[in-house]
């Protein structure tokens, strides 16, 4: 087969040598624009898993590559002048130039023809170099600006998304013994560096910042030398006298390329010509060379070219897509890093290391026990102020032992929670009657019915149990089965129930007060949600007269006296909650229930002072909050279950939620329980494990308020990862059935 490879980078060279090695009968020519010894870029990194596949593919080049490797196992994070080391990550790197030399040499050995200095600007030129257009296979490994992909863009269907940040690829003679992240803030903004050694005396040094910072610093107008001088000044303390070097380096934004079809007729795309993934996960060259391995294997296994190219695409596409997803997470993390700038160095580092969601608390503990232990100790130390509440601590606070973060205590006002685990439960009707002294055995048995189910969440080890969806009045119920707290008698029943729990549980007890709004008067949840009652429905209230579903009751748009009544009902329920002995009170302002219906522009179309601007939409929920805060004891925490997003276009957004959380905090809110969606039936949260974590991260770190997050968390590893990274303060855990 006559094969032409366009592009003499790692992908093209590796494909050439592997295909030739498998079948020396192939006639292979590589065309490269640059001279043999000219290359851009500094070092490239590989993980140990990639190296194993290189060894299988071609032991000779593998040996040469590894001979020149710089190998390290630590990642250092330099932040606020602290350097935190986390070991156990086996990473190796090599100079890009050295890698190309090795691959070129190997190609020569095997008899692959290489032509350098062939600048192909147009596919018709392929004939001009003695190779007429009669190739059997054209392998396009000509990079992100591939002329082949462009020439047949209709068939390949590429899509490029430009990153929001700017970065410049520099080199340095600073000696590094780890992958090093450096974070620096100056008057222009926030900068970060991704640096790693690639030879005995040189390191790659990538400087990145957001566009605003880049413009503030005037780097859009800076020459190459000025850019280098700026970076040398900014990172003077890190470089310690070492210099930065350029290699035709420019400030650019990262282009992420995704291509729908990877081959067309006798043409196949390889490496950066078909996909890119943000440099922060260091996978560009790795993916390109793995593409080459897969293509060579497919050509060997299949007789028909079409089958081989299909097999290649089928094998590589899912792998690349998975990595691109991780790269996307990592990229967006660095683009929005400023959000986490208020985290202390330890959680900041932990957040950084777990940014892509692929590495967890348990993984890091396995890789580096000392790092894991340091994280636990830092977390445990956060309890120091709880001790100083009772008197001065006249010595440095030392924990005798450091449990994993989920078993660290937490305090909200005077409420001491023994750990970070929360369970929620919904009970129907009133709490089951419980044992009180002086009743007959028969009465006791009758009253005890259902108590086990009621008590179970309290026995499972959580530090806090919250009874969700307790209605403030009968007309605020979601279904007729909901519990209500609107009478003295109900308060007393709750009181007895809570008292009888005391001997069996260390868990503190919270209650969530709700008014269902336009989602009220529906059937039992076992029949589905939001199905209107066939009979016995009560009149619904909402911010505006919009039914939840087309067949739902049209709610009454609340008038001033409705608002007063509802606010008074909330206050009354809060007083009863205090009488019953609850430790924490939560107001539901999520999932499209009454208070949330005011927040969202989708459900609030009022033209009075309660509709329109965010300030107006927040007015009624805030009036209720303030009235309840005044009625609820000063020493006890008040929490809000807040919609963090409607997950619908044109709906309430996380940015608005952050503002609302800040205002609530100013008014004495102690905790935000993060929820999303259900505002309207069109809401489409990306359900899955931890689907609320990113929302919680933003609210906690941008509004500066403690958060409780759920989102189908079932394992201690998930909880510890969220907590140690400062993405939330408390985790709502779910029971796993089976």
């Amino acid at each position: 087969m006559k094969i032409v490879i366009l592009g003499g980078g790692p992908a093209g060279l590796y494909a050439g040598l592997l295909i030739k090695k498998i079948n020396p009968a192939h006639d292979i020519t590589i065309l490269e624009r640059n001279a043999a010894d000219v290359t851009y870029g500094w070092g490239v990194v590989f993980s140990d898993r990639t190296l194993a596949s290189f060894q299988r593919a071609d032991a000779r080049s593998y040996e040469q590559i590894t001979n020149y490797f710089v190998i390290w196992d630590a990642i250092d994070t330099c932040y606020r002048d602290e350097r935190i080391r986390c070991g156990g990550h086996v990473i190796a790197s090599i100079s890009r130039k050295r890698l190309l030399n090795i691959l070129q040499e190997r190609c020569r050995e095997l008899g692959v023809t290489m032509r350098f200095g062939c600048d192909i600007a147009d596919l018709s030129q392929l004939g001009a170099h003695g190779d007429d257009n009669n190739y059997d296979l054209l392998i396009a490994a000509d990079g992100i600006n591939s002329i082949v992909r462009r020439a047949y863009a209709d068939h390949f269907q590429p899509a490029i998304a430009q990153g929001k940040a700017r970065y410049i690829w520099l080199g340095t003679n600073k000696v590094l013994d780890s992958f090093t992240f450096i974070f620096r803030e100056n008057e222009h903004g926030f900068f970060q560096v991704h640096a790693y050694p690639f030879s005995g005396n040189a390191s790659t040094f990538i400087v990145e910042c957001d566009e605003e910072t880049w413009l503030n610093a005037g780097l859009d107008k800076a020459s190459e030398a000025e850019s280098i001088a700026y970076c040398e000044r900014l990172f003077a303390r890190d470089l310690q006298g070492a210099s930065l070097f350029s290699n035709n380096s420019k400030w650019i934004s990262f282009p992420t390329l995704k291509t729908k079809n990877w081959h067309y007729g006798r043409i196949v795309l390889l490496g950066d010509a078909v996909h890119t993934a943000h440099f922060s996960i260091g996978s560009g060259t790795k993916l390109a060379m793995e593409d080459a391995i897969a293509l060579a294997a497919a050509l060997e296994q299949h007789d028909l070219l079409e089958d081989a190219l299909n097999a290649y695409e089928l094998e590589r596409k899912p792998v690349v897509e998975t990595l691109q997803r991780a790269a996307r997470e990592s990229q967006s993390y660095f683009e929005t890093l400023k959000r986490h700038a208020n985290l202390e160095p330890v959680p900041f580092t932990f957040h950084l290391l777990t940014r892509s969601g692929r590495i967890t608390y348990d993984d890091l503990k396995l890789r580096d026990v000392r790092f894991g232990d340091m994280v636990d100790r830092w977390y445990a130390q956060q309890a120091a102020p709880y001790a100083t509440k009772w008197g001065n601590l006249d010595m440095p606070f030392q924990t005798t032992f450091a449990p994993p973060p989920m078993f660290s205590p937490f305090m909200l006002r005077s409420l001491f929670l023994p750990n970070r685990v929360v369970q929620s439960t919904i009970i129907e009707g009133t709490p089951p009657a419980v044992h009180v002294p002086g009743i007959t055995l028969q009465e006791f048995k009758a009253r005890r019915t259902g108590f086990g189910r009621f008590a179970w969440p309290f026995c499972a080890g959580a530090g806090l149990v919250i009874f969700e969806h307790v209605a403030i009045a009968d007309n605020g119920r979601i279904t007729p089965n909901d519990a209500t707290l609107s009478t003295e008698e109900q308060a007393e029943t709750w009181k007895l129930a809570l008292r009888s729990l005391a001997p069996i549980s260390m868990a503190k007890c919270g209650i969530e007060l709700n008014h269902a709004g336009r989602r009220g008067a529906t059937r039992h949840r076992s029949e589905g949600v939001d199905r209107p009652l066939r009979e016995g429905a009560w009149t619904l209230l909402s911010a505006s007269a919009l039914p939840y579903l087309p067949g739902s009751q049209v709610p009454k748009a609340m008038e001033r006296d409705d608002m007063e009544r509802v606010r008074n009902d909330f206050v009354r329920a809060a007083r009863y909650a205090e009488q019953a002995g609850f430790d924490l009170l939560q107001l539901n302002c999520a999932h499209g229930y009454l208070l949330a219906s005011f927040l969202s522009p989708l459900t609030n179309q009022r033209s009075d002072e309660y509709g329109g601007s965010l300030e107006n939409r927040l007015r009624f929920p805030l009036e209720v909050f303030e009235a309840v805060r005044a009625a609820w004891p000063e020493a006890k925490p008040l929490s809000v279950a807040l919609a963090a997003s409607d997950c619908v276009k044109g709906g309430f957004t996380v940015e608005e939620a952050i503002l609302v959380a800040s205002v609530l905090k100013e008014h004495g809110c102690d905790l935000i329980t993060v929820q999303v969606g259900q505002t309207t039936p069109e809401g489409e949260p990306a359900y899955g494990r931890g689907f609320l974590t990113a929302f919680s991260d933003r609210i906690r770190n941008e509004a500066g308020i403690p958060t409780l997050v759920g989102g189908y968390l079932t394992s201690s590893d998930e909880a510890n990862t969220i907590l140690a990274a400062g993405r939330a303060d408390l985790c709502m855990m779910e029971q796993v059935s089976r």
């Binding site: 299909n310 067949g551 949260p685 359900y687 059935s737």
Partner: protein
């Protein structure tokens, strides 16, 4: 986890007599249900008709659509057909619905391809209401259990809001596990009591010639997915070991009912599957 078997209603060349015989044999065990697939623009049997025929010759197995492309049928017609089948079979119907992925089926039915998700939601709500009202069909307090399929975020929300469970389209246990987590997360988010019923499916063929025939059937049936059809063909379960691993993987991922579909309409295939399940200690009713 219960294990059911598919009727070969989607395999070209299946005779009516074979479908009936297949159903009779399956009813003797060890299978928990008979599943059917749905495709309009393809040489295959209508899923509800096939199940109606099966209902007449079986007494034990549940009858499940995994799935029926419900939008191809007017909602009233579908409500009536499903309620009739449920009543005819003595309440053995499990109705799995999804929007499907093939435009040709919609063209063949003369049904709009756009906004299918929204219309499926409306259909889900309407089905239950029609069954309860009983004006079109034998009245039913609840109607048959409803399952919803699909992999979009909206599918999981729709499932958790209106249905009783989720039906997965196929793939390795890992893919099912991810979808199952999404289904449980959505279910929990809507505070539905208990757990969603989780259904899944796989394809099998035993014996060299059957394996070849089965693979080419899958390549053809899934040709609309492009190169992905090759992967689906490669995942065909062809040995007792493959069945054992598949069954175990799905069970560990929390599947409630796994339906194994034939790719070759031959009763011998059904007998071999029954033997294999027997060997796995799953031969008892």
């Amino acid at each position: 986890m219960r294990i059911g078997v598919g009727l070969p209603n989607g395999a070209p060349g299946t005779s009516g007599q074979l479908l009936i015989e297949w159903a009779k044999h399956a009813d003797r065990g060890p299978f928990s249900c008979l599943g059917v697939v749905d495709r309009l623009a393809y040489d295959s049997y209508d899923p509800l008709s096939a199940l109606a025929a099966a209902a007449a010759v079986t007494s034990r197995v549940r009858l499940a659509t995994t799935i029926v492309i419900s939008l191809l049928r007017p909602t009233g017609t579908l409500a009536k057909a499903a309620a009739s089948l449920d009543a005819l079979s003595g309440g053995r119907l499990v109705l799995g619905l999804a929007v499907g992925a093939r435009r040709e089926d919609y063209i063949a039915a003369g049904v709009d391809y756009h906004e299918r998700g929204q219309r499926l939601t409306e259909q889900l709500i309407a089905l239950r209401t029609l069954w309860e009202e009983g004006t079109l069909s034998p009245r039913a307090e609840h109607g048959p259990p409803l399952l919803v399929g699909g992999l979009s975020d909206a599918s999981f929300a729709r499932m958790a809001r209106y249905a009783d469970g989720y039906v997965h389209g196929g793939g390795p246990p890992r893919a099912f596990a991810r979808a199952a987590d999404k289904a449980r997360a959505a279910w929990r988010d809507f505070r539905r009591p208990g757990q969603p019923q989780l259904w899944a499916q796989g394809y099998f063929a035993f014996g060299d010639s059957a394996i070849e025939a089965g693979k080419s059937y899958l390549r053809d049936y899934y040709a609309f997915t492009g190169p992905f059809a090759e992967r689906i063909a490669a995942e065909l379960l062809t040995t007792p070991q493959a069945i054992a691993q598949f069954v175990r993987g799905y069970e560990e991922a929390g599947c409630d009912e796994l339906v194994l579909f034939p790719t070759v309409p031959d009763l011998d295939q059904l007998a071999q599957l029954a033997d294999i399940l027997d060997g796995l200690g799953r031969g008892a009713l």
